[in-house]
């Protein structure tokens, strides 16, 4: 019966596991209750694609797609939408790009760039109804093939289409069909490989569950073309629903005579049997699959003979996978030319990908070959969630490889991905964010393949476990560089000498991560660190591991939770001597890795630090006593965070450290560039004073022009930390009118020189923190209107999101996708001409490169233009000392020792990294101090003492329940924009203690097998379910 509405309820595997069938039952009940049962038809369909949003309900004719539908939502949906026509907005998708609700499912970005051929019927028809399949054009192609085409004609059509095997290897399908067709045997077999085994890939299951007839039809056409009488579908036992639906589809097809004798009244007879595999990954390998089909042990045998000459029961056998067969009917029905017009180069048609990992929209997507990796991840996948950045894309499952972020513009095809060391494979795509350890990832895949090796051939059986053993050792920090060489050699041996595809591809994850992320392997081996803070044996806790200064966060936070504020301060001073400053302006890398975020939000570590630092200042807590003097003198050029940190740690080891500062005030960028409303000057001074009291001398107004002089003056080593103080300019014209300044000059003018001149209408160019600082400072100096022009999208701004939000609260307007091209004005600036930008291809950082759009230029009126588009180092001092200085004034130093090419001269902080963060500079200063100590004959180590876990005196379990993150008081917008008084307030004492108790103590979770993160995460998950 045709009704008024067709309500499609997804009953793909993922939606069913999130209770879509219960939603359907409730729908039936509610429709009865509202007397709508005759007007509304409910249809169970196969997978619709965006699996993570299940259960999905799609309502036609409007095409409204509801997500995450709970049983309790159904009554409202029926009463509001089905009865009264009011769409239930809260259950609709939101577009990430436009931040608006999307009603029509085809307009959801997830679907917009997709092209559904294989999945055309999935989620659109009832997979258990052969009639619906026929209504949607099903079995038309089979009819056409057997009644109007010759077998040769079908094969020729397949060849012309350019379809290649979708199971992984990408062998031309038509050619394979031709091989089998040419065999003289009177008996032949077609087999469908539905032993989908790659972790994360489930398109074959989706097709079998959502549109089983499409596979049957494809196989029947193939059988007609090659001259086969029997077909077998080898499907894994883990797919019970697929088996059930396929079984019912086969019965329905037989009943209609679409399988069996004399199909469509021709001489062609064909039938299909299901064979259920016991679930061995190696049975995806065709020869192993055939052995298993025959009832033998599922191990591969060497080819030739190929299945096309001697396959099942030694008969010529055509073997294709589910997705390949699912393409067949479309090619026959619509013609090879149509199919060949889709895709790129040697890769035609579409490919279904299973998108998973660190991406907003996970699920099944079908895109034309040639779609770029970036489009797949960003446009369809919605990008990386939780404010993290994209690191790499893993394609092809355990046989595939990792593609780093700089290749986002690569069009997907068999050739391009192979060139990058990855494969299309069966279509698994795992998006990896910055928190992924590539060594650990490679280890995961090798662990999988080692346990799935059939054990027949030596390289695969024995070699993979050896590789796993080496990877295990590396992730535990016990690997050596010889291990790395052996790992590579084993990888090549296994790849080239194994019997079957499993072994030949199993080393790929290791080889591709070695190719693009070798530095990460070396970090584990040489520096015993895991940069992504995943390999638990290599760090105390994720927060500590991610802190560039390696502050023992769990220890000091736990002291705070006990109310031992002084002890917390002592712990902090061991690795970071600037708690007051970091408690305010730190980027808080620690919070981004905090496991507490698995429950609700990360612990407010920076606010806790600030509380602790203020306590220390008010109680005049002193830093540690300097070490006994050793009589050696070290000069430090620059008194920014790197210089201060280096001087402090040198003093701890007994050196006489002297900091030379060119300006009349100490602190570097912290004093000249960070406005006081973020970092009050008394706090800055208190932190510096404390360092001076631990035995560091600071010589103000003492510029250093010649490093040689310092050595001549008796300094035995020099640390250059001169920062990146030069503001970069933007090409705005030959001669600039007055009123155009750099952000560096502007901010320094305010804080060092006491200047306060600012125009009424200020335009700031840039998207980093100094742009935001300039804008907010201009507002405080009395500017009436402050606009930030940024050439990329707002989400790509490097400034911290918190700063951006506060600036907007204060009335700063941000114009993104706006690129300045010139200034307007005579003697004084009057405006800024800006081009409107559009999102272009991806750049090496994984962000979309802004390209000029066709929208006209705009002129922003401006009485002042502040260019805050970046800073750079000059490198003059080091160049003068004969050290090679690269573009942007940067100097190459050893990341561990901070040593330059000249012995005795060390460098660090922004001067070597370019503009970075305070805490990174502190870490660099500390590493330099350690290296200088070693250089001057000391032990070069600071932390031999055993780390002690801090016990607590309260009931920790009480704090594993959900508890909102504490928020400190903030100054009101009205008052704060009138002065440079601090905006962010401080926790009250009780608040700080409560907040500190939210810490999950990841430092205690470490076990022998290094399962730190897992266990704290599982604790978090457990807390969530309670």
């Amino acid at each position: 019966m045709a009704g008024r509405l067709d309500v499609l309820v997804c009953s793909g595997g993922a939606c069913m596991s999130s209770h879509s069938l219960e939603v359907k039952e409730e729908l039936v009940r509610q429709l009865e209750a509202q007397r709508l049962a005759d007007e509304v038809r409910i249809v169970e369909t196969g997978c619709m694609g965006p699996c993570q949003y299940g259960p999905l309900v799609l309502v036609y004719p409007e095409g409204v797609l509801y997500k995450n539908v709970a049983v309790s939502d159904v009554a409202e949906m029926v009463a509001e939408h089905f009865l009264k026509g009011r769409v239930v907005e809260r259950l609709l998708f939101r577009s990430e790009t436009a931040d608006q609700i999307v009603r029509e499912h085809r307009s959801i970005p997830f679907f917009e760039k997709q092209m559904k051929i294989v999945l055309a019927n999935c989620g659109a028809i009832n997979p258990e109804s052969v009639e619906e399949y026929i209504g949607a054009g099903g079995y038309e192609a089979l009819g056409k093939a057997v009644t109007t085409m010759t077998p040769e004609g079908v094969v020729a059509e397949m060849k012309a289409s350019g379809l290649r095997g979708r199971g992984g290897a990408g062998f031309p399908t038509g050619t394979k069909w031709d091989f089998v067709r040419r065999e003289a045997s009177p008996k032949k077999v077609v087999v469908c490989n539905a032993d989908e085994g790659d972790p994360g890939a489930f398109m074959d299951r989706a097709v079998l569950e959502g549109d089983p007839h499409t596979v049957i039809e494809g196989m029947a056409i193939a059988a007609y073309a090659v001259g086969a009488q029997r077909g077998y579908v080898y499907v894994r036992a883990e797919y019970p629903l697929a088996i059930k639906r396929l079984r019912s589809a086969l019965e329905a097809a037989r009943k209609l005579g679409l399988l069996g004798d004399r199909i469509f009244d021709t001489a062609f007879s064909f039938d299909i049997e299901i064979r259920v595999g016991a679930g061995a990954f190696v049975c995806g390998e065709e020869t192993a699959l055939l052995a298993s089909l025959e009832g033998r042990r599922g191990v591969p045998h060497p080819r030739p003979p190929y299945p096309s000459t001697s396959g099942m029961w030694q008969l010529p056998t055509l073997l294709n996978n589910v997705e390949t067969y699912a393409n067949v009917r479309h090619i026959i029905a619509r013609g090879s030319a149509w199919f060949a017009s889709i895709g790129t180069g040697e890769s035609k048609g579409t490919k279904v990908f299973a998108l998973s990992g660190n991406v907003r929209n996970t699920g099944l997507v079908e895109v034309p070959m040639g779609t770029t990796l970036g489009e797949l991840v960003y446009d369809i996948g919605g990008g990386v969630p939780n404010g993290k950045t994209l690191k790499a894309i893993q394609t092809g499952g355990p046989s595939g490889g990792c593609i780093p972020v700089q290749y986002l513009n690569t069009p997907i095809s068999y050739e391009t991905l192979k060139e990058l060391g990855a494969i299309v494979g069966s279509g698994g795509v795992i998006v990896l964010d910055e928190d992924t350890c590539m060594v650990n990832l490679a280890r995961y895949f090798v662990e999988f393949t080692a346990s799935e090796s059939c054990g027949q051939c030596v390289p695969c059986r024995s070699g993979l476990v050896r590789m796993l053993d080496i990877l295990d050792r590396i992730t535990r920090g016990e690997g050596s560089m010889e291990d790395l060489a052996l790992l590579e050699e084993l990888a090549h041996t296994i790849k080239r000498s194994s019997l079957c595809g499993l072994g030949q591809t199993a080393p790929n994850p290791v080889l591709s991560t070695l190719k693009y992320f070798r530095g990460e392997y070396e970090a584990h081996i040489r520096h015993k660190t895991c940069p992504a803070a995943v390999c638990a044996a290599l760090f105390v806790a994720p927060c500590e591991a991610s802190c560039p200064a390696h502050v023992d966060v769990p220890a000091y936070v736990t002291h705070l939770s006990n109310g031992d504020f002084a002890k917390a301060f002592d712990v902090h001073m061991k690795t970071n001597p600037l708690p007051g400053i970091c408690g305010r302006v730190c980027y808080a890398f620690c919070e981004t890795k905090c496991q507490r975020a698995q429950i609700e939000e990360s612990v407010a570590i920076r606010d806790l630090k600030r509380f602790m630092a203020d306590y220390a200042m008010e109680h005049q807590l002193a830093g540690p006593k300097p070490g006994a003097r050793n009589g050696k003198r070290v000069a430090v050029v620059g008194s920014g965070p790197a210089g201060l940190s280096c001087g402090y740690f040198l003093a701890q080891r007994g050196y006489e450290a002297v900091l030379f500062e060119a300006l009349p005030i100490a602190g570097g960028t912290m004093a000249t560039g960070i406005p006081a409303y973020r970092l009050p000057r008394d706090i800055l001074e208190a932190d510096i004073d404390r360092i001076v009291k631990t035995g560091v001398r600071i010589e103000l107004l003492s510029p250093v022009e010649d490093l040689g002089r310092l050595f001549a003056d008796g300094y035995e080593a020099v640390f250059v930390a001169t920062g990146a103080m030069k503001g970069q300019t933007v090409a705005l014209g030959e001669t600039l009118p007055r009123g155009v300044v750099t952000g560096v000059e502007f901010l320094k003018g305010i804080h060092v020189d006491g200047a306060s001149e600012v125009g009424d209408e200020v335009v700031v160019i840039g998207g980093g923190n100094s742009a935001i600082d300039s804008a907010r400072a201009a507002l405080r100096l009395g500017a009436k209107r402050v606009t930030i022009a940024y050439r990329r999208a707002k989400a790509d701004m490097p400034a911290s999101p918190e700063e951006v939000a506060e600036a907007m609260e204060e009335g700063v307007e941000i114009l993104d996708m706006t690129s300045p091209v010139g200034v307007v004005g005579g003697e004084r600036v009057e405006g800024l001409r800006c081009a409107s930008m559009a999102a272009g291809p991806f750049d090496a950082s994984g962000r979309r490169r802004p390209v000029p759009s066709d929208r006209p230029e705009i002129v922003l009126p401006a009485s002042m233009v502040i260019v805050a588009a970046g800073q750079e180092a000059t490198g003059e001092l080091l160049r003068g000392a004969g050290i090679e200085v690269a573009k942007g004034g940067l100097v190459a130093v050893d990341p561990v020792t901070m040593g330059t090419s000249r012995p005795g001269i060390f460098a660090g902080g922004d001067a070597t990294s370019g503009p970075a963060t305070v805490v990174e500079a502190i870490g660099a200063g500390r590493r330099a101090a350690i290296a200088i100590d070693r250089f001057l004959g000391g032990p070069g180590a600071f932390e031999p003492e055993e780390r002690a876990e801090v016990a607590t005196d309260y009931d920790e379990d009480a704090y594993t329940q959900e508890q909102a993150r504490a928020v400190p008081p903030m100054a009101e917008v009205r008052t704060r924009i009138r002065s440079f008084a601090e905006v962010r307030g401080r926790f009250a004492k009780e608040q700080a203690i409560e907040e500190a108790r939210r810490c999950l103590h990841c430092d205690r979770q470490q076990t022998e097998d290094g399962a730190c993160c897992e266990s704290s995460a599982s604790l978090a998950a457990e807390a969530k379910t309670r």
Partner: protein
């Protein structure tokens, strides 16, 4: 004697410029016309009968390729990968790859030798191959291979597998710690004896040979106690009871004799 006829029509019997002849026939042994293929092994041009494997052709021509799972008289499975050779840059097992006209094969290239050695190291590391305590010391194919391939050390750590010796059979025993999973016992039992006593169980590193449905050998009802598995086992894994250190000598060549005799009837 090999007499060669060129059938390309470009000359008579004396046209032995093999390089120019597309098809060559061998008139030896009564003059049967058998198409011969030309292959190049290690730079030598060799005439080969179609249907033969690279290994067979090499051996007929005195070119030695190391093997372990291969045994004349048994079906080849290509499991040990020691007989790999270079074929146009690809590595293929010579025991399972048939010769084709014009093939250029390298049996001793740098890569091939290095990979063979690595594979052998892996074999040594996965078991307990301590020769001085082995019944087959001095008569062991694995030991011979180590000498032949110049494997003087094993770079990966030994796993020191600890499997229980199955000595439940009245005459034989199996020490799985010395098993290299070549599968010769499984094949001889299946293909020659027809008893199907031996089989494989499990997978990956836990794969092992079993008797019947993984019962103690002595209780395996299908076993005929013929002893063929003992003779074909390349190491000291399957041995006669009572043999002491270095006393076990095996005769795998018996299988080929047996199958030949059977073929003759």
């Amino acid at each position: 004697m090999l007499r060669v006829v060129c059938v390309s029509g470009r000359g008579g019997e004396d046209a032995v410029g093999l390089g120019e002849c597309p098809v060559v026939r061998d008139l030896a042994d009564g003059g049967d016309l058998v198409d011969k293929l030309r292959v190049k092994i290690d730079g030598r041009t060799i005439l080969a009968a179609p249907g033969k494997t690279i290994l067979e052709v090499a051996e007929e021509n005195g070119i030695h390729i190391p093997t372990l799972c291969h045994l004349d008289g048994l079906r080849d499975v290509g499991a040990c990968r020691l007989c790999i050779v270079d074929l146009y840059g690809q590595l293929v097992t010579s025991c399972t790859t048939k010769v084709a006209d014009g093939m250029e094969i390298g049996t001793q290239t740098e890569t091939v030798r290095a990979y063979r050695r690595t594979i052998l190291e892996l074999l040594f590391a996965e078991g307990n191959h301590v020769c001085s305590f082995c019944v087959s010391n001095g008569g062991c194919e694995l030991q011979d291979l180590a000498c032949e391939l110049g494997m003087h050390s094993v770079r990966v750590p030994y796993t020191y597998r600890r499997e229980r010796v199955d000595a439940t059979h009245p005459r034989f025993l199996i020490d799985r710690d010395r098993c290299v999973l070549c599968g010769r016992c499984v094949r001889v039992c299946q293909e020659v004896e027809g008893a199907h006593t031996w089989g494989f169980a499990e997978r990956g590193v836990t794969a092992r040979v079993i008797t019947d449905l993984a019962v103690p050998w002595g209780t395996a009802e299908s076993c005929t106690s013929c002893g063929k598995c003992v003779e074909v086992c390349p190491t000291g894994a399957i041995a006669r009871k009572g043999a002491s250190n270095a006393e076990m000598r095996k005769h795998p060549e018996l299988v080929a004799e047996l199958t030949e005799r059977r073929a003759r009837g």
